[in-house]
């Protein structure tokens, strides 16, 4: 990758499909929003504010044990494609990439740690957005990691903190703990049994919210949902994290139940959908990202129901990342038109599935479990 050489494990360890319920929960993220005293927040910050924030962060990162062996990437000096790759790997937000025309602002940067699955965005909406991103359902662990990182940062950086309101943030919806924990889930069972609206509504009633693939305002594709806490003030970090964990486990139970219902009441149709999805992915000559995601959803369900033995969750996770536009362009070594991108996507998917080997014929649902080497 031309100018992203130094990212340890390429920031992709969260794809490894380890952690609890990895077939349903892709990843867990916990982020903390922090700002520095004496500087205007992101949207009102001037160039010298942002440069000063970045300078202070750089000094701090050199000392912080947790950020050793990492790399600091300044957004303006990256190519547009590299920036998009970071976005597609979920290491940065759209906000950090700035306006599509004018590009990122001076001082916008991301630091990816070399020793832990943590990263820090600098000069986003808030000066500091520290996050940990783990595979599977590991909310508590993700919180502990980002908490340790925060302790290290806070020892060097003078955070804006108020005795009543807690950690001060640009948007009052983040103030207090500045903590947003989110779990990225695949819920096809609930969608197919039409129970999803009820479940999502229920989440709203217990202070949780959900979003699509790329966070706030993004579309739900391929039955993937990000469930996260809605409020950040008035509860301890441990309570926020614990509450989300409990509720997500409940949603997993609902999802597993819905899948059993599908198998019990509509086995033929379900199997047909899954095999058609597999067949299209295996042989299609062009695939839009949305179509790909919807087919992937079917295959992922099949794998989880043990109807498609021989595939690994890790392979499916990896495909999700490497079929995104900037990743396809990087692999092709040039810009791609939308039609070319669809063709490259289909070719990539065919290649990966072929390498994974033929899955068994599945004339009957197989009794075999998934392969033991899931990663």
């Amino acid at each position: 990758m031309n100018d992203l050489p130094a990212i340890p494990d390429h920031g992709l360890s969260w794809l490894e499909a380890s952690g609890d319920h990895a077939d349903i929960v892709l990843s867990t993220r916990v982020r903390l929003a922090r700002n520095l005293q004496g500087h205007a927040f992101g949207p009102r910050a001037r160039v010298n504010d942002r440069e000063s924030v970045l300078r202070k962060f750089r000094e701090c990162a050199a000392k912080a044990e947790f950020l050793q062996g990492g790399t600091l990437l300044e957004m303006p000096s990256l190519t547009p494609r590299s920036r998009k790759i970071l976005l597609e790997r979920r290491l940065v937000t759209r906000d950090l990439l700035g306006d599509p025309q004018s590009g990122p602002v001076r001082g916008a940067a991301v630091h990816v740690s070399g020793s832990a699955p943590v990263s820090v965005m600098v000069n986003e909406e808030d000066h500091i957005r520290a996050q940990s991103l783990l595979s599977g359902l590991r909310i508590e662990q993700a919180w502990r990691l980002v908490d340790r990182l925060d302790e290290e940062l806070g020892r060097e950086l003078p955070f804006a903190y108020h005795h009543e309101f807690g950690f001060l943030t640009s948007c009052p919806t983040n103030v207090g703990s500045g903590l947003r924990a989110s779990v990225f889930m695949h819920l096809p069972g609930l969608v197919l049994t039409k129970e999803i609206a009820k479940v999502l509504q229920g989440l709203g009633q217990v202070g949780l919210t959900f979003r699509g693939l790329y966070g706030e305002g993004s579309e739900v594709v391929g039955n993937f949902f990000q469930v996260s806490n809605q409020t950040t003030l008035g509860k301890t970090e441990e309570d926020l994290v614990d509450h989300l964990d409990k509720m997500v486990r409940q949603v997993i139970q609902y999802e597993m139940h819905a899948r059993q219902v599908l198998l019990r009441d509509a086995q033929g149709v379900t199997e047909d959908k899954i095999w058609r999805a597999y067949g299209l992915l295996r042989y299609a000559r062009t695939l839009s990202f949305e179509e790909f995601m919807n087919l992937l959803s079917g295959v992922r369900l099949g794998l989880s129901l043990k109807l498609l033995p021989g595939l690994r969750v890790y392979t499916l996770n990896k495909m999700m990342i490497f079929t995104q536009p900037a990743h396809l362009e990087e692999a092709a070594g040039r810009d791609l038109s939308s039609a070319e991108s669809d063709a490259h996507r289909a070719a990539y998917v065919r290649r990966v599935l072929a390498a994974e080997g033929e899955v068994s014929r599945g004339d009957r649902p197989s009794d075999e479990g998934p392969p033991s080497d899931r990663f």
């Binding site: 806070g154 207090g176 706030e216």
Partner: protein, 167 residues
């Protein structure tokens, strides 16, 4: 040609299913390619509406807020309350003092309260009172950890308290 009708223009070529989540309510719209493009679905999605926006809009009609001179400005960053109402973003840490009464009402509405009870932060060069506040909070956390028999966490907290306590 699909037989699904576009919700926007009524053409029978709806190809895009738009699922929107506004205030935790999910709604699905079917749109034809043209209408979808007009709604900007090809590019960056619009940020979803969220409770803050509604609240800020309501605040605009609130006489208590209108009585407040629109010319009030944050002395540090110059943000006016109108700016905040329009963007939903505060300008700097000082804004939280400047607009404290408004924010208290807003925070109660959005978060159900105004008092932070999570991590207690100690700046790099803490004053004695800041140190004491931090130690108090850590001791409370230690008690909770012991009560819930999370001894690993309790040991960590104990070490942290020891490292902060004046010798």
């Amino acid at each position: 040609m699909s037989d699904i009708v576009c919700d926007n223009c009524g053409s029978t070529e709806a190809v895009v299913h738009l699922t929107q989540i506004v205030n935790n309510q999910m709604s699905t719209h079917r749109l034809c390619e043209k209408c979808a493009a007009e709604k900007g679905l090809e590019s960056t999605p619009e940020p979803a509406n969220f409770p803050l926006t509604d609240f800020l809009a309501q605040m605009g009609k609130d006489p208590a807020v209108d009585a407040d001179p629109a010319s009030t400005q944050c002395p540090f960053c110059g943000l006016t309350f109108r700016d905040f109402r329009e963007t939903g973003r505060l300008g700097c840490p000082q804004c939280y003092e400047t607009y404290a009464p408004h924010l208290q009402r807003l925070l109660r509405r959005v978060h159900g309260g105004t008092q932070h009870v999570g991590k207690v932060y100690l700046p790099p060069d803490p004053s004695a009172s800041e140190l004491e506040r931090r130690l108090d909070a850590l001791r409370r956390k230690l008690n909770r950890a012991v009560e819930s028999e999370d001894f690993e966490r309790a040991a960590e907290l104990r070490d942290e308290i020891r490292s902060l306590e004046p010798a």
